[in-house]
Subunit: 409 residues, 2 copies
């Protein structure tokens, strides 16, 4: 029998808890999900602790785990992942940070950590900072969505062993970075010079002058957090023996997949938000499957509604995803094993990630079924897959799809 | 309460997937198995990953695991197990190989790797080779079923760190063995001399002259594979504190059980195939239980039908096994805990081992029951035993049967 291709669908933060607004049902239970229910009914289900029992996963650490990597060994910091997601490829010795454009007064007291969620002009502001040098260290700076951006420091003697400059609360002065290990001292010094320099350059920039004139908050300082060094992660293809592509909108997961050496195409309309073009992503998935052994389809919107505390919105978005998955399934060959799951729970009532395990379904022609009839956090708990750890998922999928070699005779 | 005796019944490769020929049922589901169903209904069930999640087990590595040994630590190569199965007891420094009688031309090009599946005369041919010496190394050689045989090399400076001489494809010249580590150099040299010597002796042997005259393929060369050294495995009795016997037909599992120090009687009619005398094995099992704490009953036929892709044959054989188990159970005392399982899945649709977990049932007078009513891959998934790893099985059985000491007060 030929090996099956593997399609892993991750609906970010889809798993939830019972919500009053949904009469005590979870968004997934309350949604009409005929496609996922059919797959669950015909396939095998279970629960999964993305990282481990009781652990509250980040999207980045959870994705590492679900792709078969120990996040405690391979997590390289969010700055690095965001940089890779924006196409900045780090060299040995580089240090990356996630940054915010923020609003500051002359004393570097932070008035708004997101500069009024600035929506345009950050490309020009980034341009004014990108390429600066401080004490022989080069600043590579790139804008991302809204107030977000990424910075990579390049030069001798750098280290990610430093604290961040984002004070996390408005009304506080931008924090001074300090070294958490002696090798971080130079980096902390450069970072502190950079904070001041960013204010000096940005505050007088024409874009911010115009914002002030319009009564908008100027994006006149850069706050840095999530320092990360260059990752040393085994390539996905070498690790798993599978040619792989990821269909994903958000920078963080894009970055991770790129660092793992997966193909990550840019897809028009894949925004990484609730307004993403699901249809375009499904088409890209079908295309990716024709040329790969493994495809990761990542859908972010579910998580956004969880963070916003919007139960109805989350339910309706799940329903939309299910419709689109129906079209996808109709176009899948018999040679594709499909797994549908979440990277973590983002309960509407918590408005943040939680440690609750996520539901998992696996369906493939000729594979076993179990007693589960519908795909929900509640029902999958009697499934044949029982409860697994995220790091076991790839091994499980590869085994069922025929990729694992026999051990012994 | 007195400890119970433990009877572990392993139906080799019995676990399967839904099959079209059986209207989407597995052979075990489709078979009438009133005995196993009654035991499942009264007892406790679950699933088991014989070696670990996603791992495709061999029969040898899976049996190690189910008998409580880490196969990654104790697997010693198939040659060693086959040799022990044929009653050749290795001494420290010996190296064993599984061998084939094959057909070769004068240039040692292999024309048939199985010498036309030669059915008789290999005892005489083995006799012509057994006892030879090459550079002070003694050849111990024994015929097995059909074209199969086993060789043990005995002498100073040997090692199993060598490649095999079986080219695995017809039309190729017998491979030259090479050392995979420096300590294998002498063994590779001896093995290469042996390949030529085997041709020189066998090609002119009267049995092969007669075969050629009849138009049959001569069994005129020996191909060696699966090199194995002397195992260093803790004795079953010392490891588990249980006096043990194995009722088994096939050489590979016989060998493993002998290496573990279990009693392994020769049973007339136990062929290790679908034509085995199940009745004789059941009688031997009853007898073994009278004198032991632990009995392994191994039934190979289920696996054979899986490898042959024969769903109906597999179902019918399972039914036959169930009938015989009915007779067995009727003759068991109340003091026997019985566990029924498989060493791995051999789905008819895969025609080889697969990583799918196997069903497990445990039944003993006075032990708990669960919600499972029938013994099948599907139903046991809701059982109280949940899903365990093969290496946990002995501990579980010994615990339930009363053999484990209290830890603490």
């Amino acid at each position: 029998m030929a090996n099956m291709k593997i399609l892993m669908v991750i609906c970010d933060g889809m798993a939830d808890r019972p919500q009053d607004e949904l009469d005590g049902r979870t968004p997934l239970e309350d949604a009409s999900t005929s496609t996922m229910n059919k797959l669950a009914n015909d396939g095998q289900c279970g629960l999964m602790n993305p990282i481990g029992i009781g652990i509250v996963p980040g999207s980045d650490t959870a994705h590492l785990s679900l792709l078969g990597y120990d996040p405690y060994e391979y997590y390289c910091g969010r700055g690095t992942l965001e940089a890779a997601g924006l196409g900045i490829y780090m060299k040995p010795g580089d240090v990356a940070f996630r940054c915010n454009f923020a609003t500051s007064d002359e004393n570097l007291t932070i008035l708004d950590r997101r500069a009024g969620r600035i929506a345009s002009g950050t490309d020009d502001l980034a341009e004014a900072i990108n390429g600066l040098e401080i004490d022989g260290v080069k600043i590579i700076f790139r804008e991302a969505v809204e107030h977000r951006s990424v910075m990579v420091l390049r030069g001798p003697g750098l280290s990610s062993k430093v604290t961040e400059t984002d004070p996390h609360h408005e009304g506080q002065i931008a924090w001074k970075s300090t070294a958490t290990e002696p090798e971080g001292e130079k980096t902390a010094r450069i970072l502190n010079k950079f904070t001041k320099l960013s204010f000096n350059i940005l505050d007088k920039h024409p874009i911010n002058q115009a914002r002030k004139a319009e009564g908008l908050k100027p994006a006149n300082i850069i706050l840095a957090r999530g320092p990360g060094g260059v990752p040393d992660i085994p390539n996905f293809m070498e690790n798993h023996g599978l040619k792989a592509e990821a269909i994903v909108g958000i920078t963080l997961v894009k970055g991770l997949c790129r660092i793992l050496g997966m193909e990550v195409p840019e897809i028009d309309g894949a925004t990484g938000g609730a307004d993403t073009d699901l249809d375009a992503k499904m088409k890209a998935t079908i295309e990716a499957l024709s040329d790969n052994d493994f495809v990761l389809l990542h859908i972010k919107g579910t998580d956004v509604f969880g963070h916003d505390g919007d139960a109805i919105g989350k339910r309706d978005f799940i329903q939309k995803v299910d419709d689109e998955l129906g079209n996808l399934i109709a176009n899948l060959g018999d040679d594709v094993l499909i797994a549908i799951t979440a990277d973590h729970s983002t309960p509407v009532s918590v408005m943040d990630h939680a440690s609750d395990p996520v539901p998992l379904l696996i369906h493939g022609k000729g594979l076993r079924s179990d007693m589960v009839e519908n795909f929900s956090e509640l029902e999958v708990s009697i499934g044949a897959l029982n409860i697994i750890d995220g790091q076991e998922l790839m091994l499980l999928l590869k085994g069922l799809a025929g990729w694992n070699e026999k051990f012994g005779a």
